[in-house]
């Protein structure tokens, strides 16, 4: 149980710990269940990514698909679904199937098949993380696999051209997003107040759509019109991935988010400095002890209280 577990997966950008939906799902689940996972992101090294990422290595076992990885974590007693009723467990399975059937094709299309997106964003990003000369081959292969998958599952008659298939899959994806939004409603997570497997999967699928900046963004725009889903992603990112979220991201990102993060960091730094100053002042023998209680309460980084404490 205490065996160290290592997860190899694709890295992240634009404020996400990973761009790959399956890797993101596994990372989110590990955070929810409190599983200690060392995450190795694939970077420009000679270690060839073995096709199916994410891969979990624990002692001698190598497990590769997200469903199997999650099963393994559950067996190691890292279970985020502990408090779910049987019916909710069944609902989880059903909604995951919905995501895979309706949302995944459109997501694959946005990432790998839409020509502008693929050439300007996806291919360079993935190629930069794979060693040469594999970087010339692997992104192309992933793109072809994605196209294959979409055509084989969705492309039969009466849809004869890729354009009609595209229209259908985006319609399906938008409907799926609407359904998810209705199901989430106003609660924080899908089953109450604690995140579960379903939250991990939904987050894994939604976050890349939400955060990655593409030239062609019809799915992202639709998602942005569903504020509860956006809030859901942001919540998970700030609560569970706070340490991995970098404040710097490539240009053209959601500036409000970046500014907010920088502001929070600044405020934290300032309140730390103020704490130190206050500490020094308190320790020096001339001055009587100053409002200790308010100091502790305000140490959370509230913007207003340090300011108000400074003014006499």
């Amino acid at each position: 149980m205490a065996a160290p577990m290592e997860l190899s997966c694709w890295g992240g950008d634009w404020g996400l710990p990973s761009l790959h939906p399956e890797s993101l799902t596994v990372m989110a689940y590990a955070k929810f269940a409190g599983a200690p996972l060392t995450v190795n992101t694939i970077n420009n090294s000679w270690r060839v990514p073995k096709g199916d990422l994410p891969v979990l290595v624990s002692e001698d076992t190598v497990i590769s698909q997200p469903a199997k990885i999650l099963n393994f974590l559950r067996k190691q007693k890292y279970n985020a679904d502990y408090e779910l009723s049987a019916k909710q467990g069944a609902d989880t399975l059903a909604y995951i199937a919905l995501l895979e059937e309706k949302l995944l094709p459109a997501m694959l299309h946005t990432f790998w098949i839409e020509a502008e997106n693929y050439c300007s964003v996806t291919k360079p990003w993935f190629a930069s993380r794979i060693a040469f000369p594999l970087s010339l081959y692997l992104p192309g292969k992933m793109s072809r696999e994605a196209l294959n998958r979409i055509l084989l599952t969705k492309g039969g008659p009466p849809l004869y051209s890729l354009i009609e298939v595209e229209a259908q899959i985006y319609r399906d994806a938008k409907e799926c997003l609407n359904l998810l939004s209705k199901r989430l409603g106003t609660s924080q997570f899908f089953f109450g107040d604690t995140p579960t497997t379903l939250d991990a999967f939904v987050f894994g699928f939604l976050a890349p759509i939400y955060k990655v900046c593409f030239p062609r963004v019809q799915l992202q725009e639709h998602l942005k019109q569903l504020p509860n889903l956006c809030r859901f992603c942001d919540d998970i990112l700030t609560c569970y991935f706070r340490l991995n979220v970098s404040g710097h991201s490539p240009a053209g990102q959601d500036t409000a988010d970046a500014n907010l993060q920088k502001l929070t960091q600044l405020v934290n730094k300032e309140s730390n400095l103020i704490e130190k100053m206050d500490d020094n002042l308190r320790r020096s023998p001339q001055h009587p002890p100053r409002k200790l209680t308010t100091l502790k309460l305000a140490a959370g980084g509230e913007e207003s209280s340090p300011m108000s404490r400074l003014s006499p």
Binding site: A90, D91, L93, A94, A97, R149, P157, K182
Partner: protein
């Protein structure tokens, strides 16, 4: 402009006794159950080339007036446009759940059925190949059969099922049935009092699995483990299929394939 449902509406599927396969039979039964639940009369016509007549290449398809619609999803929408719907009484969250469960059945049960009948070598040799090409002379029957098998295997590879073993596929079926059983609980239908298209779909698949003879009984055993699911199938069978003598096709099906619903 909603025209009334014509008297001569027809549902086309492959030949019941010799040709039709597990997955197609399940889909066809689901559509029949749905139409029965909507109280819309339909004749079942068996044709050897039903698959090729269908606009989407999949059976079953219905021929209503001068329109041809195939597969359960589009048929449900078509029937809704005509003014009949089973899911109007559901609220938004329930509708989302219903769609999710229908996807679960399609994703797991249907794919498992396809895997079993096209990727499991024993079943393919002994059941699928002989049945699929039976209306055609040699060598056409073998050619069509191999072509279809190649198509299905490509699809399995694309969605990642090619690497699964039969045990894993049966595991998945078990998980799916477990989820359905949990969701159904002790209620008569999935959304309590009234049947919906989800009930029709689940009935179609489970009834076919329970009553079709394969090489082994493993698949039907998985379903039989859940008594509320078998009770569900029997209830729908009694309510919607036994009262109709003109639906002799279903009754013949039940007697021809040994009924295991004892």
């Amino acid at each position: 402009a909603a025209e009334p449902w014509p008297e001569n509406a027809a549902l086309y599927q492959q030949l019941k006794e010799e040709q039709i396969l597990l997955s197609d039979n399940a889909s066809s039964l689901a559509v029949q159950a749905f139409l029965q639940m909507c109280n819309l009369p339909i004749r079942v016509i068996c044709r050897a080339n039903a698959e090729y007549m269908s606009p989407s290449g999949k059976v079953p398809f219905i021929h209503v007036g001068n329109q041809v619609v195939s597969e359960l999803g589009p048929i449900v929408q078509f029937v809704k446009a005509k003014g009949h719907s089973l899911s109007d009484g559901l609220d938004e969250v329930q509708k989302a759940e219903m769609k999710a469960y229908m996807e679960l059945v399609n994703n797991m049960l249907l794919t498992a059925e396809l895997y079993l009948q096209w990727c499991d070598d024993v079943t393919v040799e002994e059941i699928t190949h002989p049945r699929y090409g039976s209306p055609y002379p040699w060598p056409l029957n073998r050619i069509l059969s191999y072509q279809k098998q190649w198509e299905v295997k490509r699809k399995m590879k694309a969605i990642g099922w090619a690497g699964k073993t039969l045990e894993q596929v049966l595991e998945d079926v078990d998980q799916c049935c477990h989820a359905l059983s949990q969701r159904l609980g002790t209620q008569p239908y999935f959304f309590n009092k009234q049947p919906t298209e989800l009930d029709a779909l689940v009935f179609g698949h489970l009834f076919t699995i329970l009553t079709t003879q394969l090489i082994t009984d493993e698949l039907s055993e998985k379903v039989k483990n859940y008594s509320n699911l078998t009770a569900f199938c029997r209830r729908i069978e009694q309510q919607y299929f036994e009262g109709h003598e003109k639906e002799s096709s279903t009754i013949a099906a039940r007697s021809a394939k040994k009924s295991l619903l004892r």
